[in-house]
Amino acid sequence: MNTHRIIGKRLPRIDSKDKVTGKALYTDDMSLPGMLCGLILRSPLPHAKIIRIDRSKALNVSGVKAIVTAEDTPKIKFGIISRSAKYMDEYPLAVDKVRFIGEEVAAVAATDADAAMEALDLIEVQYEELPAVFDPEEAQNPAAPQLHDHAPLNISREYHIKKGDPAVAFNQCALVREDTFTTQSAIHAYMEPRVALACWGKGGALTVYTSTQTPYYVQQHLGRTLDINPDNIRVIKPHVGGGFGGKSDGLSAVEFCAALLARHADRPVKIVCSRDEEFAAARRKHPVAITMKTGVNKNGIIVARQCKAVLDGGAYCSLGPLTTILMGTFQTLPFGFEHYQYDGYRIYTNKPPCGAMRGHGGPQVHFAQDIQLDMIAEALGLDPVEMAMKNGLQTGDQSAAGFKIVSSGFQECLQTVSAKAGWKQNRKSKNKPCGPKAYGIGLGCGGFPSGAGFYFNKTTSAHSSVIIKAGEGGGLNVLTGASDIGQGSDSVICQIVAEVLGLPLEDIHLTSADTQLTPPDMGTYSSRVTVAAGNAALNASKAARDEIFRIAADHLEANPDDLVANDRRIYVDGSPDRFISFADAVNQFQKKNDGSPLLVKGSYNSPDPLSPTYSFGAYICEVEVDLRTGEFKILRFSVAHDCGQPLNPMSVEGQIEGCIGMGMGYAIQEQLDFEDGQTLNPSFMGYSLPLANQMPEINITHIVTEDPHGPFGAKETGEGSLDPAAPAICNAIYNATGVRILDLPVTAEKILKGLKKKESQDGKSTDRADRKR
């Protein structure tokens, strides 16, 4: 039972009043005296040598204060994964060569946008076009153009896992399936475009306000690429309008160009990306071709898995080398198997670089896995829910990729969601069309790490740290490096501190993500913030409580172990009238310590290099398909998610609902189209995000588990909840129509084609891929 005052409660977020009134400041809302408008010149060619850049005409435009190219930089490469030199394959401004349409070539700062735009048009770049390659299969041909000298056959990263002997194990399986799945190019489409505002002090210190998920990495990589000590750089993250992995690359050319222009112009410079730039040149999700082979015994227990993934990486690494690994490891959740082989290849192509996007490799492989398991269940005459129950990882298990499960509510998720969605009854109505419309119901399953256990760079910093400073009035200043980008970490950190110290939320004053004030933090990625920064906040709060209880124990002549903190008071448990106020205790502390403030800190490092713990979830989707047209409607999503103890159930639901929105968009409509490396649909309208009137009913049940690692037993929600969405939809559509869609997105056209094919094959034997042994 939840006996907490603040933890586990449906509380409004601490920043929501500022956000509903328009008071919350995002980077583009800030301006500084003398500020210039910056714009970036991008490559119009997918692959070319830069012969010459002439800025003389552009410099003559009235109002232009600076123009920079690579010649104005130290020409130092960067890459978020800086543990290995080969993953640092990108210059923040192109040096000698461009490798995708949209690559940053030069930047202009002017007194207004019109002048900057005019100057941009007048910069003359002479290119020598090179042959380009856009398809990852073609790119691996020895005759294909090679993008980078260090990468023969354009292999950006390969990663292999081998456990047991799948080849032998397949021979002992009752059923083996091999299928190929493909996924499309998708993009974050956060509402706030990337933006950075940079200014230099006369002493050589740089301040950058930026819309980022990872201010600490921005500081490090800006230092590296500008060749200055990162400690001279202050990176401040104001409110951020969403990221979803698209602002987690450690550095973007936007920040770099703003800083460089500001130095050259000796004035503050702000660069805001246009929506066109965001769709055409920003990071995006990896399209991937997945060949998955899974073998099961006659009871449907998964015995062996072999998987090859070919990732279309685009022109540079970004976070892709990690995506290549994660596609191998994430598919070992939430099901266990003994024998496993994974071969992942990330291939360079002349397209915008692909990096992390919410779920980071998970949505692609879970799409493949859950559809294949649905096929296997059907072939064996098993119920997919029952098969998932048998194969699901439980507390104490270890996944084929080595994920150690310290708490699993997966089976409970399955039981709950199938009961709530009426799975058994509704499943029976499969393929019984009422009129021209057929109803279908399908399952998707997920499991996800609650945070990575390592930094991408070499550092001695803890993964997360929190500092607490008490004020004389009994309020607390809390400093955290954690980056709230809309997911609500600021609120959760305040809830944790308030809970431990017996204070109301309004007494907690948070400063987050300012590298000069707040301690280092890895940032917002990998679903890590609640567990890592939450634990750091918990540790700091406990340290503060120890100090306060010591003072209170003296004052009350009691044992510190007998004290409780509640309602701005410290008192002996059971005797609330024998108390000292929190504020008095703080002031007594200061008196005893020559006026020094009560200042404590807490840190957290993941105990496991893979992740401290894992979330689980099961989704059931119900659809209705028009058999005449292939058009379909998603009727309902029923969800059960195990995020341990939800620290704020309203926030957790918001994450799940957002994941379903994004997962649904990914499954049925979102797609970036390319022609010769050019993005053809660089707009919201062209790309097609889900709208309010498209979203189905969503019913969520929290499956509460007691996780030993998470703060108050909490685990992640923000990414794992995305994975089951697409396969649940696809499995429901199959259930309705008998049409399997193995290439995303699912469209009415593909379903109709499948229906026609099925009609023409009716009566003939199906499923030649099945191999009974």
């Binding site: 500022d18 956060y190 509402m191 809309g486 609902e657 957002g658 309208m685 309010a692 979203m695």
Partner: protein, 158 residues
């Protein structure tokens, strides 16, 4: 291009401002009147983040020329709350957890206010239809719809 002085009535105040003929209302609100609560997310009329009310109707300020807004009553998100507190729709967004990153929020709050002023008791479907021109990438819209419904039930539109 030349600047010329125009008068805009914003949140009940007459503001004199120098604008170019091609300045959008969004640019003028944000850059010249410091009303940064109106957000710019696409500049092409596709996302609804820049929604303001002009003569009580929701309008995309990125597609509206500032000079065309003279003589009309413009309400931005800054004009919705009062020093005393939040408006009922805003309060409902806060209490129902309808705000995540918050970038779409001002536009949706204004769209919702227009809906409730026309239809104090909208159905779920009518709410979804009304805000279908406002993109949100964080919430899946569920809690936004709930917040508008709750505001209506609390009499926000009456």
């Amino acid at each position: 291009m030349e600047n010329r002085l125009i008068e805009l009535t914003v949140n009940g105040e007459i503001r004199e401002v120098a604008v170019k003929a091609n300045d959008t209302l969004l640019e003028v609100l944000r850059e010249k009147l410091d009303l940064i609560g109106t957000k710019e997310a696409c500049s092409m009329g596709e996302c609804g983040a820049c929604t303001v009310l002009i003569d009580h109707k929701p309008v995309l300020s990125c597609l509206t020329l500032a000079v065309d807004a003279t003589g009309k009553e413009i309400i931005t998100i800054e004009g919705v709350s009062s020093p005393k507190g939040l408006d009922a729709v805003q309060e409902s967004f806060v209490n129902k957890g309808a705000v995540q990153c918050g970038f779409c929020t001002p536009g949706i709050v204004l769209t919702a206010k227009d809906l409730l002023s026309r239809n104090p008791n909208p159905s779920d479907e009518q709410i979804r239809e009304a805000i279908s021109g406002n993109l949100c990438r964080c919430t899946g819209y569920t809690k936004i719809v709930e917040a508008i419904q709750a505001a209506a039930e609390g009499g926000a539109g009456k």
